[in-house]
Each structure stands twice: as C-alpha cells, then as structure tokens.
C-alpha cells in the first residue's frame, strides 16, 4: 500500500515537473527569439535604436541570461506565484486573469463530467443484456461517441439559437449586464451556460454508457455471477454486484478521460465564445500574450493533477481491496 502511494506521489511530482519544463521549453526551443518577435510589432526604423531597445528588452525579460539561469528563474516565479503580467491586459497579473475565467470553466466541466459519468453508467448498466434497451441505447451511444465536439456545438447553436431562438448563440452573459450576485445576472448566466454544458455532457455520455454496458455484460458472465445465480439470488442482486465490480475500471477510465474532456471543453468554449479558460487561451494567442499562455498551460496541468488525485482517493474509498490493505490487512 505504501508502495502504491509512493509511486502515485512520484508520478504526480514528476508529471508536474515535466509539464512545467515543457511549458518553459516550448517557447525557448522553438525557432525565433521572443524579444525579436516583440520588437517586430513596433515599427522601428534605425538600426541603432533597434540595438538599444533589443538590449534593454533582453535585460528586462532576462533573455540575455544563460538558459539554465532562465530556467531557475522560471521555477522560482512558478513556485512563488509570480506568473508574470499579461501583455494583452497590462496591469493585470496572469493569475488574476486565470482566476477570473476559472469559475466559468469549472461550471461547465464539473457538472458535465459528473452528470455524464453517473447517468451514462446507469444507462449502460440498465442496457446490458436487455434486448430492447440495448438496441436503443447502444446505437445512440455510438453516435454520441463519434460526434466531434465542434460539430455538436455548431449544430446545437444553429438549431436552438440561430433558428429557434431558444438559447443565446454565444457569450457567458448578456453584454449589457454587470456581473453581480443578483437573480437577473444569475439567471442570464444559466441561460448562456446551458448549450455549452449540453455539448460537453452529450459527447461524454455515450462513451460511459457503452463502457459500462460492456463491463456489466462481462461481469454477468463471470463465475461469481454464475455462483450467485446458482444460489438462487435475484437478478436484481446479481446486477447490483456486477455494477459495483464494473464501476472500478470505469473510475480509472474517468482518470484517463479527463484530459480529453478538458480539451473538448476548450473547443466548446471557443465555439460558444464562453468566457472560460479555453476562451482565454485564444485571447492569449491572438494577442501574442505568451505569459498568459504559459500560465494557462501550467494551470491546466495542475488542475488535471488535482483531479487525478481526487479520483485516486475515491478509488481507495470504493475499492475494498485497497481500503482493507490500508487498514492493515495483508494485501
């Protein structure tokens, strides 16, 4: 058990290290000099002026230092929370911008993941070895699983927003509103939230249903289920045991799928111009705000690590084998 935890911990620490290093490495290893790139946006005529500005800017950004020194600086900034100042929105700290966008992203992601996971699992388990349900849930599941996020976003926005005018076509709230804790604002928020949420939710739903259906079928064919049946247990009881066994691989599947859902969420936010982290990334790119881009990348990595850690803890609580071995039983 201790070995299990230590390995997990090592993986998390290393993953953070690798993620942070990639985050630093990509701008430094890509062709082109960031200072040159920055200066090219000003229209400087004389070479002497350019030289002087280049020197000052290199000093200001620290690009004249040796690489290892820059790398250490990056780490000290990362650890102490100095993630830099945004180019695009100058006095604002990168961290402030990220925390402004974060609630929107979480409001989409968390309900979409939790609801699609629970509902998908229930649906899949119910469909297993039941002909009528199986013949409806399964094909629908395949189709939902195969829909590209951007297309579902566009199709829903077209049908429900552009044609039927039931929901707004984009944005996080009406442009005239000021964020406040009032009913008008919150209801407007929910009104804008629904379509992006539906997109992320529907795409994930099919995968969970199909996965659970297959796992439950496998469990129902298992010797333990046959034994229960031979003992005369009710089908309902057998199914309940099958479901519990099947939810373990599904849970580890959830940990694996997180990165994909986060990606899908970014695409969805982009499609709906929903003001979360995904939208912020594109603001950062189109305004060449590399500090912001760097900050969002490392922030998403941290978020994924935390989510994985939470799933690990849930896993320990759900899996009796790990739980027992933690309480001192031989593993």
């Amino acid at each position: 058990m201790r070995r299990y935890l230590i390995r997990k911990l090592i993986t998390y620490v290393l993953a953070f290290f690798v993620g942070a290093t990639i985050d630093w490495g990509i701008p430094h290893l890509m062709p082109g000099n960031p200072v040159q790139l920055y200066l090219s946006s000003f229209n400087i005529r004389s070479a002497a002026q350019y030289e002087a500005l280049y020197k000052t800017m290199s000093q200001a950004f620290g690009t004249n230092l040796p690489l290892w020194d820059q790398y250490l600086h990056y780490w000290s900034g990362l650890v102490t929370g100095h993630w830099g100042i945004s180019f695009w929105d100058p006095p604002a700290q990168v961290t402030t911008l990220i925390f402004q966008a974060l609630p929107y992203t979480l409001a989409l992601l968390v309900p979409a993941i939790v609801l699609s996971y629970t509902l998908g699992n229930r649906l899949g388990a119910a469909a297993a070895r039941r002909r009528i349900l199986d013949n409806t849930v399964l094909p629908a599941g395949y189709v939902f699983q195969s829909i590209p996020y951007p297309w579902l976003a566009l199709a829903l926005a077209y049908l429900l927003a552009a044609v039927l005018h039931v929901f707004p076509i984009s944005g996080g709230y009406d442009p005239g509103l000021i964020p406040a804790f009032t009913w008008t604002f919150i209801s407007n928020l929910l009104y804008h939230w629904f379509l992006p949420f539906l997109t992320v939710f529907l795409v994930s739903l099919g995968g969970w249903a199909i996965g659970m259906r297959n796992l439950v079928i496998y469990e129902l064919e298992n010797d333990s289920s046959r034994y229960l049946r031979a003992l005369g247990a009710k089908e309902r009881v057998i199914r309940r045991y099958a479901y519990r066994n099947a939810s373990l691989p599904q849970l580890s599947g959830l940990a694996l799928a997180l990165g994909v859902v986060v990606g899908g969420n970014i695409v969805t936010e982009y499609a709906f111009s929903y003001p979360g982290l995904g939208h912020l990334i594109f603001l950062a790119i189109s305004n060449e705000d590399y500090f912001l881009l760097q900050g969002i990348f490392i922030f998403i990595i941290i978020g994924l690590l935390v989510a994985n850690f939470v799933i690990d803890i849930v896993f320990v609580m759900v899996d009796p084998r790990i739980r027992l071995s933690m309480q001192g039983a031989p593993s």
Binding site: I10, T11, A15, V18, G19, I22, I26, P27, R129, P139, Y142, V143, Q145, S146, I147, P148, Y149, P150, W151, L154, Y158, A161, A162, V163, I169, S204, G207, I210, G211, N214, L215, I217, Y218, P249, G253, A255, L256, A257, G259, V260, V261, V262, G263, G264, I266, V267, Y270, A271, I281, F282, I285, Y290, L293, Q294, F297, I300, I301, L304, L305, N308
Partner: protein, 318 residues
C-alpha cells in the same frame, strides 16, 4: 483522444482474455476438415459475414472511403475555382458555396481525404510507439517497467490539445504529417498500458516458458509467441485509434491548429465560424463536414464492436 472512445471490450482485456479469444469454437467444423489454422480462419469468416454490426459498419465505412477516393473526381468543380458566394445547395453546387465562392462539395471531398490521412497516420504512430513500449514494459518487467510506467502515467496527464495549442502559437506552418505524428505521439499511452497488461498475463503462460527454455531471444518471443495471441486485440486497438485520431484532428482543425497547408473537414468548420456562418444561417457550410465525420467514426465503432464479437465468442448475442 482515444479515451472518449471506450477501449475494446473488457472481456478481451481481462487477464484470461486473448488466448481463448481466438480459439475456434469447439465442434463447429468436422473433425476430418482442413488443418487447424485454416479451420479457425474459416470460422472467423463465417462469424464475420453473419455479424450484422460488422457488415453494417464496414459497408458504411466503405461508402465513406469510396466518397473520399472518388469525390474529387466526380466533383464538377475545382476547389480553387470561384463562383457566386454563400449559395445554398443546388444542382450546380451540391453542397453550396462558401463566403469566398468556393464550391463546398469539392472542399468536403478533399477534406475527407485529409481527415482519413491524419487518422491513419495518427493511429499508426500511436500503435507503433504504444505497442513497442507496452511490449518492452510488460515483457521485461522490473525497473525498466517501473520507469516506463511512470513515463506513461506522466504522458497521460499532459493534455494533448492544450499542448498543441501552445506549440501552435509558436509554429506557424503545420502540415498533415505534423498533425498525424503529433496525434500519434500524444495518444500512445493508453495503448502502451493495455498492451503491457496483456503481455504481463501472457508471459507467464506455458508456451512462453517453453519458448524461453528453447533459447529464443526476448524479441522473437514477443513477436512470435506473445503478439500473435493478442493479434485480434491489437487489431481492434488500431481501429479505435483510427477513429479517435480523426475526432482529435477535428478538434485541432476547428481551433485553427490543424494543417495550414491542406483543407480538412475540421478546417471547413473553422472557416465557417470565422465567417459567422451560424449568424448568417449558412447551414450547408458547417453541417455536412461534421455529419460526415460522425458517420465515419460511428461506422468504425460499430464495425469494431462487430469484430470484437467475431473474435470473442463470449460476447456474441445469446
């Protein structure tokens, strides 16, 4: 990626899995029949032809592949020609035209080819890397396995899309090859995991012990003894990877991070949002590409499930 599509059914991924999977169903052929490998093959063909899911999925996929091959040939217009802009579908322009007056049928036909290419490239890259690392980790075990496991787990946690966004911000021109390779190099971890787990259970079997005792080298044991016993599983993995690579590519392309040198299906959707096709109700611009992609991937998934049932007697309808 990959994980949005659930892996091959657990029945083939379980510890007792692959070896019995490919075994012939007892008593279906006469004892005086042909030699064992051929008997097994003809059994598989029988089940394959009688599996509705497989036949349906494959036929549908074949239709899309034919469309990808012959689409550009039968298209009456060239992708680079200009016509009246924003025309709805008509006898002249089967899928209408976009804001620049390009014929969308020609674009979609070209996009089909690019999407298939990226999907195939991504699947091959991921399968190659994932299988190599999975076999090494599973067969060698020990410290090497620990190191590879940790490496795999780290790669799982780095989100491909976000990584590509950051790379795309600096790399201004990207080709089809780059996209395919990138997808392959970020989606291999779950292949490696699955292959490792399978190799782990297979390497304790008697026939592997026997091969080892007869002095075979590690690689030849993996290639000649272990891999054939999970061939059906590997085949299913590649098919799933193919579908998931196409979906992933659609996400990239939609964000404008796809190939800058070619038009893909996701690319067309990206262009449509950039030119406010939604607000202008130009549905023929963004609906067909995504619908085709959904069909392409769904057909693969259905065929995949059918194949799984063909390979795995436990899963067949009862």
């Amino acid at each position: 990626m990959s994980d949005t599509l659930s892996g091959p059914t657990p029945a083939s991924a379980d510890p007792a899995g692959p070896a019995p999977v490919a075994a012939p169903v007892a008593g279906t052929t006469s004892p005086a029949g042909p030699s064992p490998p051929r008997r097994r093959g003809s059994d598989l063909v029988y089940y394959a032809l009688h599996n509705k899911k497989l036949v349906f999925g494959l036929s549908l996929e074949a239709l899309f592949v034919l469309a990808a091959i012959f689409g550009p040939i039968i298209s009456p217009h060239n992708m680079t020609d200009y016509f009246a802009s924003n025309q709805p579908p008509s006898a002249q322009h089967w899928l209408g035209t976009d804001n620049l007056g390009h014929d969308l049928f020609a674009e979609v036909a070209a996009g089909l080819q690019v999407s298939y290419m990226v999907g195939a490239l991504g699947a091959l890259c991921a399968a190659l890397v994932g299988m190599t690392l999975g076999f090494i980790a599973g067969y060698r075990g020990g410290l090497l396995d620990d190191v590879l496991q940790i490496f795999t787990n780290i790669m799982v946690m780095i989100p491909a899309l976000v990584l590509l966004i950051v790379i795309g911000a600096y790399l201004k021109t990207r080709g089809v090859l780059f996209e395919g390779a990138f997808i392959g190099l970020t989606t291999w971890p779950w292949v490696a995991r699955a292959v490792r787990a399978q190799t782990f259970t297979l390497k304790t079997r008697e026939f592997v012990d026997l091969a080892r005792m007869s002095g075979k080298r590690g690689w030849s044991i993996v290639v000649r003894e272990i891999a054939p016993n999970m061939a059906s599983y590997l085949f299913l993995v590649v098919i799933l990877l193919f579908g998931s690579s196409m979906l992933l590519a659609a996400n990239f392309d939609f964000l404008g991070l796809g190939p800058t040198t070619a038009t893909s299906l996701g690319n067309i959707m990206n262009q449509s949002t950039l030119w406010s096709a939604l607000q202008l109700h130009l549905w023929w611009w963004f609906l067909p590409p995504g619908l085709l992609l959904t069909g392409m991937v769904a057909a693969l998934l259905v065929a995949n499930v059918g194949l799984d049932e063909v390979f795995n007697p436990k899963l067949r309808e009862q």
